[in-house]
């Protein structure tokens, strides 16, 4: 294996995209992913590609649309509020069957939130944040090494199925440094397979190509969507990726992705030392989600615990997979604060002992909320502003 280099997540990702043959990047600055455009700004020039600091996130995603339509490996990168702005363009690219790479280094939200790492955009990424029936291939790295190696995988999957791909990471992964190495040789874009659908100079020897997200004639859109759904079905069948640790004899399986999976793994190691049978399932593709795998694990273990830096979003997919067979609990760390391994340990123990420590439950919040804001003695209510 190659010697490991010390690299920052954002830079490993940017260099990984260059090595994967990305030759067009457009973006707009936002913390915590600024090293990506900064790196691209000089590196694209070195490799004969193009870098554009767009006037906005919306402009950037539409530049990607144009570049991808010509068949070039095109990419944009942003963080949560910026990715929200891109949703219209992403929906159009999904509708136009354009392969591309969109990176979201998630930060706290909603709104401007804060600039620390978070996982509050799971739903937006996996359900399609824009309008219409569509999916993105969503990859969730949990290390600087994966950040560096996933752009190639993302471009390959995206081109194979003509579905936009997203790398969904977070501010901690983007900002941290660790040892990493690339597991592939740099790709020369000239050696990539031709894209017969792409736009370009037509010397009259081929039929006219059209890139469009709409079908106005009666029944045309349905045909387009169903054709695309066939590819979605193939992706769900063939492209699920996950990592399994100590699940073989686990009584409790923690399900966590990205940086949360690392805190969860620390908890698993500590609990295993105490003789507690706990394992980790880390979805690497968030869509397609490892539904079958989780259903199989639900036949063997007593309960599952989702550890997420959100109010609980991935837990929806876990519950769908478990389909009521076993309880699924939540350890939630919203507001862009790092999940604490010791708290996850306590949460696992709580599940095994039937206590509630560190398990997150919205209905518990409702009880507390009753005591604070909605009672008549509350000052604001008395003054009638809430009534």
């Amino acid at each position: 294996m190659a010697e490991k280099e010390l690299k920052k997540g954002n830079e490993a990702l940017a260099e990984g995209a260059i090595r994967a043959g990305c030759r067009f990047f457009a973006g707009y600055p936002i913390t915590p992913q600024n090293e990506v455009p900064e790196y691209m700004s000089w590196r694209q020039e070195e490799v004969g590609g193009a870098f554009v600091q767009a006037e906005s996130e919306i402009a950037a995603i539409n530049m990607i649309y144009g570049a991808a339509a010509t068949g070039v490996r095109a990419m944009t990168s942003s963080s949560s509020p910026g990715v929200s702005l891109k949703q219209e363009g992403i929906s159009y690219m999904a509708g136009a069957d354009l392969p591309c790479l969109i990176v979201n280094m998630m930060r706290g939200g909603p709104g401007l939130g804060n600039i620390a790492g978070a996982q509050g955009d799971y739903m937006q990424a996996t359900r399609g944040g824009g309008n219409g029936d569509y999916r993105l291939i969503v990859l969730a790295p949990n290390s600087v090494e994966e950040l560096g190696n996933f752009p190639k995988l993302a471009f390959e999957l995206s081109e194979k199925y003509r579905v936009p791909a997203m790398i969904l990471a977070d501010g901690i992964l983007g900002q941290m440094m660790e040892g990493m190495s690339y597991n592939f040789e740099p790709v020369d874009p000239k050696t990539l397979p031709a894209k017969p659908w792409a736009l370009g100079i037509n010397d009259g020897t081929r039929a006219k190509n059209m890139i469009s997200s709409y079908g106005l004639a009666e029944g045309e859109l349905e045909k387009m969507i169903l054709k695309r759904a066939e590819r979605y079905a193939l992706i769900e069948r063939d492209e699920v990726r996950f990592e399994e640790r100590f699940t073989e004899d686990a009584e409790v399986v923690i399900v966590a992705y990205g940086i949360s999976a690392r805190a969860s793994m620390a908890a698993v190691n500590a609990l295993r030392k105490e003789g507690i049978k706990v394992g980790l399932l880390r979805p690497i593709t968030l869509w397609p989600f490892p539904t079958k795998k989780i259903a199989q694990l639900a036949d063997k273990c007593k309960a599952m615990l989702c550890a997420e830096m959100s109010l609980g979003q991935m837990i929806t997919d876990v519950k769908l997979a478990v389909n009521g067979k076993i309880p699924v609990h939540l350890y939630a760390k919203p507001g862009a604060f790092f999940p604490i391994a010791e708290d996850i340990e306590t949460a696992v123990k709580s599940i095994l002992t039937g206590k509630k420590d560190f398990l997150f439950n919205l209905s518990d919040l409702a009880e507390k909320a009753d005591n604070t804001c909605h009672k008549p003695e509350n000052k604001i209510c008395k003054e009638g502003t809430l009534l």
Partner: protein, 179 residues
């Protein structure tokens, strides 16, 4: 071996770069390492800090919440990082700039007059390297040779005489003992 370290000081003292150096040194020695900066809305002239983990096994969390060692280079960092330190942990204090004594009795403390030593060595800019030397000497988490090798990787354009100066600073720091 596991060392979770916080390095803190004024912006410009090189605490963030010192962290990169430490992580790179760990990597040189074949350890698993991570580095994480404080990148919040910091104020000019305010404090900066970073987390470094050096470990024999995979690093789970790059954000060090309960450090084994805290290296504090300026006065405002002491009240922030002393309470976070693990019981029995190591506190390395830049006694040139920090006059307050730590309150905790359950920790080891090394007082390092970093600025004075750095000036004696030949450049005030090596002050944080003196503290890194003290860390290496007291914990053995990384060797001085590894830090020197790391310097060549991290500061690619550094002149050999600057590397030699920094090496001297490391050695001066490593010679100091905990009180």
């Amino acid at each position: 071996m596991y060392q979770g370290v916080r390095i803190a000081g004024f912006g410009g003292q090189g605490v963030v770069s010192a962290g990169v150096l430490l992580a790179q040194a760990g990597l040189v020695e074949g350890k698993a390492v991570s580095w994480f900066p404080s990148y919040g809305p910091e104020m000019r002239g305010g404090t900066a800090n970073c987390s470094v983990v050096i470990s024999d096994t995979e690093v789970s969390t790059p954000v060090v919440c309960v450090p084994d060692t805290a290296i504090v280079m300026n006065e405002p960092s002491l009240p922030k990082f002393e309470p976070m330190l693990k019981s029995g942990g190591l506190l390395i204090i830049n006694s040139s700039l920090i006059k307050t004594k730590p309150a905790r009795k359950d920790i080891k403390v090394i007082y390092v007059p970093c600025n004075e030593i750095a000036e004696k060595v030949g450049s005030l800019r090596t002050a944080t390297l003196v503290a890194l030397g003290a860390f290496a000497g007291a914990t053995g988490a990384v060797s001085l040779d590894a830090i020197e090798n790391a310097m060549k990787k991290v500061f690619k354009r550094a002149k050999p005489e600057m590397i030699a100066l920094n090496r001297k600073a490391l050695e001066e720091g490593a010679a100091l003992k905990a009180q």
